[in-house]
Each structure stands twice: as C-alpha cells, then as structure tokens.
Subunit: 515 residues, 2 copies
C-alpha cells in the first residue's frame, strides 16, 4: 500500500494549469459524441440525447461511421470530419477501438475527452495494455480525459450531461447547487444524483472518474477546490493514486470547503471486490483513515451519509458543541434517540429554568418536563418548541423527531359533513406547518446560528407540503431518528475538529455555511 500511496507516476504533471486544462471539459463550446446511436438500448443513444434534450448550449456533433443522422441531426463518419473545433469528445465505442478513436481525436485537436467504454484495467492484462496505449496517445496529443469505465460528467451550469440513460430516469435537469461529486463508482454517483433530484438539492459538478487512467481523483479535487460554484466536495473512493498529493491538498481545502468521503475496500473482501471493479489497489485502511483524520476530511460509513452530510453542511450552521435538544411527537422516539446519542458521544443536557417555564406555558401539564421534550401528541406546537430549544444556551443543536408533517388530503373516505369539518382543521394545520412553520423555523436557525435536524416517518414524505418545503431549503428530513442522529454526529464531530484547529476564539467562523 505504502509503495502505491506515494508512488511516482510515469509522466510529469503540469499541476498549476489543471484548472485551465479542465475548463473545456466542464464548459465546452462544442461536444462530439463518438459512438452516438439511434438504438435506444445503446449508451450512445442516451448520452447523445441527454445532451440534446438537456439543452446543452454549444455545438453538438454525433459521430458514427454507419449513420447518416442521429436523432435527426447530421452524423459524421469520424470526429475529423466535424467542421468546427471540438472541445470535448465523449467516447462510447467498444474498448478495442478506443486507441484509434483517440488517435483521431488527437489529429482533430480535441482538447478533452470522457471515455465511457469499459473493458480496460478492470478487465485484466489485455485491458491494462489497452488502457496504457490510450493514455500514451492522449498524452502525446495533449488531451486530458476522464475514465475509461465511467459514467460521465455533469455540469448543470453549462447544461452539460454525458451520463446517458440512467440520468434520463432521474431528471430532465439536475438542479444547480453547491455540492461537487467525485465518484469512483458510477452507480454510487447515480444514487447520489437520484437523491439530489428526489429532494430538490442541487449539485455544482459531477464526475464519475472511472479507472482514472489520466485524470485522477486528485485532479478533480483540485478543480473543485477552485470552482466558485462548489461549497462542499463529496467523494466515493476505492483507491487514491496520489496519496501524498491528496493529503497536502485536502489539508488546505478543508480549511475552506468541507470534504466528505466514503472510502470503500476497507476489508479484505471489500479490497478484492474493488480490484475487480476498477482495478483499484485499495491499500491499508489504517493509512487512509489516519490521512483523512489529519487532513480534516469527514469520513462517512454509509452511502446515504455522503449526501446527507454534504447537504446539511451547505445549508445549516455548524453546532458549537455536542449538546442536543430533542423534541419528539411521542416519547418512544425520544428514548431511542437518547440511547443512540449517548452511544455516539452526543450529550442530552438539562434545559434551563427559562426554557422549562416557556414550555410549561405552551404544553399540557403531562409533557415530559425534561430533555427529550415529549410533545405528548400536541403537534401544533412543535415549531414553537424547536425555537424555544434553539434559544436555550445549554443547547447546541436541535433534533426534532416526528414533529413535522401535516394532515394529508386523504379525508375522502369520510361522510361529507365530517369531511368538511376535517378539511377546515387540516387547512389550519397545513397553513401552520408549511407556511408559517417552515419559514419561521428557517428564520430561527439563522437567528440562533444552530442547526436543526429533522426526522419523520416515511409516509409523511409524499403527503407533507412541509417536508417538501424543508428540503427545498436544504434541510434534509430523515426517514428515521437513527439516520438523523448519525448525520448530527458527523457534523458535530467535524465542528469540534475545526474548533480545535482554529482555536477557541474563532469558533463561530463556520457560519459561512448557513443558509
């Protein structure tokens, strides 16, 4: 591992120019899709139509030696026949003809490429040779490329998506946002894109880096660090090719932008699977772990955490400490949450006399009179209670469980007279929860500069205007208290790390991530 971690590469990098070199990759004036197809079962179909339909603003050229037109657009036999300059070539042809295709790209003067095709390093010795040949040709011609064996790139700021079929399922447009995704697994990337779309969160850039024959994770990281649209960088990693470079860069970047990483291949079995996947030499997990810790990288354990942590960092203030105020619609969730908080090192502090008095005024006498605050079914006060806890000086963050959600529109089962009564009631609650509630809560988060983490059972998700409203504002509503607490633990530990780093006098500098 160590040998690999610090190994020198066969070519010299012109490091300082990476930002410039990747400009035509993320902001191309023209794109050629080599292997574009009229057959909907082919990636070449989906990728070309993705670009077409998503409204890419530059020139778009299908290249396929067997077709006259692709989706009604004039098709070229070779990239060399394209009448104008090509900034980006998306290559989606069988692995064995990628070298001659790359040669044509060099001859054409193409600046950057994305090689979607698989069958290289990950497929054994033959593939390894093929990959080396492609790198050699590209380097000679000065072409920087992503892949091979990848899922493509997305830049919502230039209406660019080379990700093909899967992304069609997701969304006509991946929304613009401030999270950059760099992933060594296309599928994991898709998973994150789906989450983003489902919840209405945006991304700034997306790169599925594949085998990283030319451009490495570290190159993309360097680019995202400078990208003005990116506030948080999220990564799925099986292997870091340039461990030393990563470490040096990450140390600096995390001072300004958080990096959230899921490092897989941490066990022997996982390591073996990673080798089969991208040919990665996953290496000793201990070395990675130490590297991430020292560099201030947030290492998460579950796929879902990657996006949840990133979204929360983008949209909420960091907690100033580990003391959590808990509000629940019912006591059982409070007990489960209390257990997990203690196990993960979060404290559930006593509330101040002032807070207790305020809550006494609001809640019926049977409320829990302590933290966790059990609303004992009086849901209409939940947002007010969250606000009261935010104000409490003993509390650094608030966890609200099952206290969002509003009556749904499924009252149709009732006789008309009852339905009307219910409708009135429901309207009142919806109004309270979605309009005043959400807005009021976001105002309070801003005012007190403390995060609020929400958990609500899954069915509420589809029903509740309030949940959609929260997620539009970057506040994730987690399906279970356990997931919410896991997230809260990550951001609390991150905040504590930064506090240690920057010294006590400066510990509120994190508020730059507030909404």
């Amino acid at each position: 591992m160590k040998a690999c971690f610090f190994k020198l590469h066969g070519w010299l990098k012109v490091k300082k120019s990476i930002i410039k070199q990747l400009e035509p990759l993320f902001y191309p004036k023209s794109v050629a899709v080599i292997g574009a197809s009229n057959n909907p079962a082919k990636w070449g179909f989906s990728i070309f139509n993705d670009l077409l339909v998503k409204g890419f603003k530059g020139d778009l050229y299908p290249v396929n030696k067997n077709e006259e037109k692709i989706s009604g657009i004039t098709c070229y036999k070779s990239v060399k026949d394209v009448p104008k300059p090509v900034d980006l070539a998306v290559i989606v042809v069988p692995a064995k003809i990628v070298p001659p295709i790359m040669k044509e790209c060099v001859e054409k003067g193409v600046k950057t490429a994305v090689i979607i095709s698989a069958g290289f390093r990950e497929a054994g010795r033959e593939g390894q040779k093929l990959e080396e040949e492609v790198v050699r040709i590209a380097r000679q011609g000065g072409i920087r490329f992503v892949g091979p064996n990848c899922f493509g790139i997305i830049n919502p700021f230039s209406n660019l998506s080379t990700t093909g079929l899967m992304s069609l399922y997701i969304t006509p447009y991946v929304p613009k946002g401030s999270i950059a995704v760099i992933t060594q697994s296309g599928n994991l990337g898709t998973f994150m894109l789906k989450l983003a779309f489902e919840r209405g969160f945006g991304i700034s850039k997306f790169v599925s880096s594949g085998n990283e024959a030319d451009l490495h994770f570290e190159d993309h990281l360097e680019y995202m660090a400078e990208d003005p649209d990116t506030k948080v960088i999220v990564g799925y990693v099986e292997e870091l090719r340039e461990g030393r470079r990563f470490f040096e860069m990450a140390k600096e970047i995390t001072e300004k932008k958080p990096i959230v990483i899921l490092k897989a291949g941490r066990t022997k079995t996982g390591h073996k699977a990673a080798k089969a996947h991208t040919g990665a030499l996953a290496g000793s997990d201990g070395v990675y772990d130490a590297c991430f810790k020292q560099a201030g990288v947030i290492r998460v354990e579950e796929i879902q955490d990657l996006f949840d942590v990133a979204v929360t960092l983008v949209s909420q203030p960091l907690p100033r400490g580990n003391r959590v105020g808990i509000v629940t619609g019912g006591g059982g969730f409070g007990v489960v949450a209390a257990d997990m908080c203690e196990e993960l090192g979060l404290e559930i502090p006593p509330l101040t006399q002032e807070t207790l008095q305020r809550l006494n005024q609001r809640l019926p006498p049977r409320w829990s009179h302590s933290n966790p605050v059990d609303l004992v079914g009086t849901m209409e006060y939940s947002y007010v209670c969250i606000g009261t806890l935010l104000k409490d000086e003993n509390v650094d963050s608030v966890l609200a469980i099952s206290s969002v959600g509003s009556p749904s529109k499924i009252f149709d089962q009732y006789p008309p007279a009852i339905r009307n009564q219910l409708a009135e009631f429901a309207e009142m609650m919806v109004e309270w929860e979605s309009t005043r509630g959400v807005t009021g809560l976001i105002e309070r988060i801003r005012k007190y500069q403390k995060p609020v983490i929400l958990a609500a059972p899954p069915t509420s998700r589809e029903e509740s205007e309030a949940i959609r409203e929260f997620e539009k504002n970057g506040i994730v509503v987690h399906p279970t208290p356990e997931r919410a607490i896991s997230l809260l633990t990550y951001i609390t530990k991150y905040a504590e790390d930064r506090k240690k780093k920057s010294g006590a006098q400066n510990h509120n500098s994190f508020s730059r991530y507030s909404p």
Copy 2:
C-alpha cells in the same frame, strides 16, 4: 433492575384464561367510545370516526355527557345508558375523571377497555395514585384493560381500530397480514403502521400497550402466541414488568414463531428518557440482552429493522448459512457491500465453476468473473443472474443491489420520434422486469428455498412497477445496500441460532416461513 425484573405483583393472574379474556378486546361485538367528540382537534373525534369509517361490524356507541349526537349518531350521557351490552370501552377523557368513568364501566358490566388518556404513572406521583385507583376499580369489576397513556389497538380481522387521528393519515384499512405488533410507544407503532401501509404489508394485531397498568407486554405476547393469524411477533420494549414470565414464554414461542424486539433505554440517558415516557424502570441492559439471547429472541438495533426483519421472516425462507452471493448493477455497490458483509460476519464465497460458466454465457466479457457479480450495466440479465446464484451450492442467500427498477414514464421531455423509440424500449424492459422478472424470481426463491434480499436507490421506488410487485409479495426493497445487509445479518444469525438449537439433522425446518 433484578428486583424489578423478578418482582411479584400485587394481584394474582388467572393466566390460563388470558386468551379468553382478550377475546372481547380484539373481537368485540360492541364498542363504546367514552369521550367521543364532534371537535376534529380531539382524539375522541378521530377515534370514533376511525371505527365508524373503517367499517367496524359490531354495535358502536358514542358516549359524551355534553352531546346529543356524534357524527350523526345518537350519543349517550353515560356508558350506563347504552341499551345493549358493551364488550369494549375506549376511554379518551381527562386523566382525573378516568376513575369514575371506570366505575361506570364496572357497573355497566363492560368486559374490556382501552384507556387512551395520558397523565398517569408517567406524569409523577399524583398520576401514579390515579393509575393505581383505576387498576383497583377495574380489577374489582373484572375488567381487563390496555393503557393508559397509549395509542390503542387494531385488529384488521374485525375491522377494529381505536387508534384515532394518526391512523387516518395512514390508510383507510390497515391490511390484513401475519405480523403482530406490541409496542410500548404509540409513535413507534405508528411508524410501523405507516411502513406497513406504504409497502402493502399486512398486520394481524396491533397493541400500543402504554403504561401497562393492567395488561402487560407479556399478556399480549401470550395472546399473540396463540393467535392463529399471527406468524411473527414484533415488539418495542422499554421495560418488561414480568421478566421471568417473559423469558419462560419466549423460549417456547420462538420455537414456533419468531419474536423480533427493539429494547430501548439501553444507556443511562435512554433509561432516563424511558422513565419520563412511560414511567418505565428500564433496568440493566445486560440482563435484558442475556434474556433475549437465551430465549431465541431477535434483538434489533434500529427502528426500521423491526418491520424489515418481520416481513422477511414472514415471506422468505431462512438462509442455511452465512454465505452470500451478491449481484450489483455496478461495482461500487459491490465493494461497499463486501466491506459490510465481512464486518458483520457474512461470507462472500467463491462461485462454483458451473456458475461462472453460466454467467460467462450471459454476461459480456468485462463482467467481474467473481462474487460480487458486477453486471457492468447489463441490467436486463439481473433476474437470471440472481437465479444462477441461488442455484450455486456455495451460496446460502442472494443480495441484489440496484438491479431492480425499470425505465419510468418520464420520457415526455423528448421529441416525438425519440419518445416513440424510447417507449418501445421501456415497454420491453417493464414487461421483462415486472411480469416475468418478479414472478420468475419468486418461483426461484421457492424452488431453491433461499432468500433474496433486494436494495435499490430511493427514486426507483415510486417509478418502478417491479418494486411495488416485489413488496406486494413480501419482499422488501431496501433503499441502501447497508440496510439490506443489516437485515440479512439478522435473519442469518437467527437461522444459525435455530440450527444450533434444533440440531443439524433438522436445519431446513425454517421453510415454513416461505411464501
């Protein structure tokens, strides 16, 4: 804790008759709702209308001294005024008037009761006294009751629901099924009901046991053990009042019906929260843990696991060992899954030569050639591959990640010509996946008597006919591989425990839980 765990109660139980005693609770011929209301903001409104709308077949009587009619039905000033016998009284009045109301129930000859009202043991000394008084009155009159401070009961087999407003959000009818839920938290119960409805799984009985002033968790357990509609019993526990009785019963029950339990209040903080919630003395977690282990109870750690484990036990065969075959739509998920499997004690065995050859015939040359099987984007073969792995003698269970789901209907963004092509393609895949795919897979699960655990990213859920079809058949589709592996670990460990218990010669007796 020990003192509490084995403590003797102030009254003698007529144990043998519990089944008979609870008959009028779950199958009442008549129900009176004491505290029924015309005000939609009151539980008395929702509970009464729940019974009305859900089509309870017996006689239904609203009781409220201030109303002439409730939802158009003649209302009685007192339960004593009801002209016919009352099997079940649902009591939803302020705590302090519950004792005189219970006295009236005794005078009326009511057989059983559910006390929804809170403000008893959980609310301090005064409440404790009130609770003791209610118990005294009920015992003298021979009334067994659920609660107080609870969310009510549901029996879909008698169209009975006393759970009020929340259940209105969930479903007009909780579907009939074979999972019994006993919960010491109403909110956690609701969470499970919502999951059940969302995914189309049924329940056999539901009890929110509240403070358990009279009927204990153990009483409900004894009833569910004998209930012919119940195949698996799920419980949320903060405190077991009769530890010894629980242990003796559970040992016997788990021979026939699995018991899945989430025991909260395992930490000091959780313990404190439990005391505030239901007045529970949560006790030493070590004692509980040992008790569960010895009794063969499946103890889960997260809320979501409760239902997932139960559903899987009801609908799938148990694995014969810990060797997992993994199929993924892309390699990254395989790496993450391999890591987690190793960490949780599941093995990822090499595949037999026969299996490798079969897969070679189906998959393009670039497939992973090992376990995890990476389909490298060729999703159309996923069900066939799952079948091939099931057949492999090295494999005890199959985990399929991101290999369900079918193209959605969101092709509207495309120009008409492309849309038509896509529609044809989509139709083909939908047909493959939902009809042939799901049916074929379920047939194979039955044939090979091995479980298949599925994980697919969240967005697919709404889109995919296939996922709905799976869940209709009791096969949970998990949102992440981590959740799927957590579930698989629980059922694998349970299967291993039972194998040890029943001896090697008999290890396939678990197949009674197959669909």
